[in-house]
């Protein structure tokens, strides 16, 4: 019979999606092949997805428009174990998007991450570069409306921090060729 530690470590491994190599224990063998384990995976993904949609509202809306929400989420949670708290889960997820190819997605995710971080470290100032008007972007995501197009040779510099009037400032800058 397995010890508690062996049992629980094996379950953790299976929940992570790692297949146990030929488990000798009959119960583990049964669990690994069970529909219940698949259901546990499904439920865990539901919760994680729900938390992302709930806490990272604008990022998830933009990702759905870009058609990358489902695939990115599946890949992300396959690679990263879920931390115990929702705040850590969402912060880590948003931070991971800083490597994404799409500049608008990087900017929206950075904005939501800055909002989360500002609760823990209000003194920090964050600078986010946008290729289009951030106010119009957030408004469009809020209303499920059409997104503004990128403005050629223009960037918007959004600053967030407690030292700024209303905690935020935005400057449009024309870039020289």
């Amino acid at each position: 019979m397995l010890t508690l530690e062996q049992q629980q470590r094996s379950l953790l491994s299976m929940v992570r999606g790692h297949s146990l190599k030929a488990p000798s224990d009959p119960w583990l063998k049964e669990v690994q092949a069970s529909s219940g384990l698949k259901m546990i995976h499904t439920i865990a993904r539901w919760w994680q997805r729900f938390q992302i949609e709930w806490q990272c509202r604008y990022t998830s809306r933009l990702m759905k428009r870009l058609g990358c929400f489902e695939s990115y989420l599946a890949e992300y949670f396959r690679k990263h174990p879920a931390p115990p708290s929702i705040e850590e889960l969402t912060a880590q997820f948003l931070a991971s998007l800083q490597q994404h190819d799409d500049p608008l997605l990087r900017a929206v995710a950075r904005l939501e991450l800055a909002c989360i971080e500002s609760k823990a470290a209000p003194a920090r100032t964050t600078i986010i570069f946008w290729d289009r008007n951030p106010n119009q972007v957030m408004d469009a995501l809020d209303r499920f409306a059409k997104l503004p197009e990128p403005e050629p040779k223009v960037r918007y510099i959004l600053r967030m921090g407690v030292g700024l009037p209303n905690g935020v400032s935005c400057k449009r800058q024309v870039l020289r060729a």
């Binding site: 010890t3 115990p84 609760k119």
Partner: protein
């Protein structure tokens, strides 16, 4: 400290009624408070983690305190992970410490399960193997909780999604051992029992016949749904008639029963609506109140 224990003159005939409050907003709170005797507060749901530290949200504590002259409070945790082989979840204990520094709940409770292994979240809750080793581990932890908080502590059985690990005890005998070794109370969840019957052919009648019902202080009601034929413990619906019937069958057999709780996840509130929740609470009150 807020007095969260109701005196007998404030309670209705029959068991008192409670429902879950996860800090979703004053609009919901103001609707449900006149309909219940207790709020069931899950500390995990009213907390926030900042810079690696988890703490209760002060604005939600204020909300709860604002209604403690009208309703009592019971605490129902999800995050203790009482059955983890390595250690329980210490941040949850800190949440309890914080809650108890401000409120005196009628009792507090936790599930007989584990949600973390080596500090990693499993994304779901697993039922405990019913072995002597687990019995000793859980009993020792319950005793530590009982020493720490001077209100009754209750345990609740959970649903199974995978088959039972090899066991030394039947489901009822395992719980009987825990309650007799520690003196803790028990929550019977009528919906969980129905889920196990649907998913694994669990014999509810035999379980109840074997179970010592004296420690049962609380009965849980909830409604869920089926996914791919599996009845899930996701509290998102009104209580099914069959669940209410089962609860009514259990009720008179539990001499220490104090509270019937309708559990609902905050995520389900938009679907059910405020009116829907109020209708459900009124319906349950009517059913559990003796004529």
């Amino acid at each position: 400290m807020a007095g969260a224990v109701l005196n007998s003159s404030q309670l209705p005939p029959g068991p008192a009624l409670a429902t879950t409050y996860e800090g979703v907003g004053l609009d919901v709170l103001e609707r449900i408070v006149p309909l219940v005797d207790y709020l069931e507060i899950p500390p995990d749901s009213i907390s926030r983690t900042q810079a690696g530290r988890t703490a209760l949200r002060p604005e939600l504590l204020d909300q709860i305190e604002s209604v403690t002259h009208q309703v009592g409070v019971i605490v129902h945790g999800v995050g203790l992970s009482i059955g983890s082989f390595d250690q329980w979840n210490e941040p949850y204990i800190q949440l309890l410490d914080e809650f108890f520094s401000r409120f005196t709940p009628q009792w507090h409770s936790e599930h007989l399960g584990f949600t973390t292994v080596c500090g990693e979240n499993l994304g779901t809750m697993f039922a405990l193997p019913r072995t002597e080793a687990m019995l000793e581990l859980v009993s020792e932890r319950i005793r530590r909780i009982q020493e720490r908080y001077k209100v009754p502590f209750l345990i609740e059985h959970i649903i199974h999604l995978i088959s039972d690990a090899p066991a030394d005890y039947s489901a009822a005998a395992f719980i009987n051992e825990i309650t007799s070794r520690t003196g803790c109370g028990l929550i019977l969840d009528a919906y969980n029992l129905e889920c196990d019957r649907h998913n694994f052919g669990f014999d509810i009648a035999a379980f109840l016949d074997e179970l010592n019902l004296d420690p049962v202080r609380e009965i849980h009601l909830a409604g869920g749904f089926r996914h791919e034929g599996v009845q899930l413990d996701i509290h998102s619906q009104p209580t099914a008639e069959s669940t209410l019937d089962l609860a009514l069958d259990i009720l008179p057999r539990c001499p220490s029963l104090g509270v019937v709780t309708y559990e609902l996840l905050k995520e389900a509130i938009p679907n059910l609506g405020h009116d829907g929740i109020c209708r459900e609470l009124t319906r349950i009150r009517k059913v559990i109140t003796p004529c």
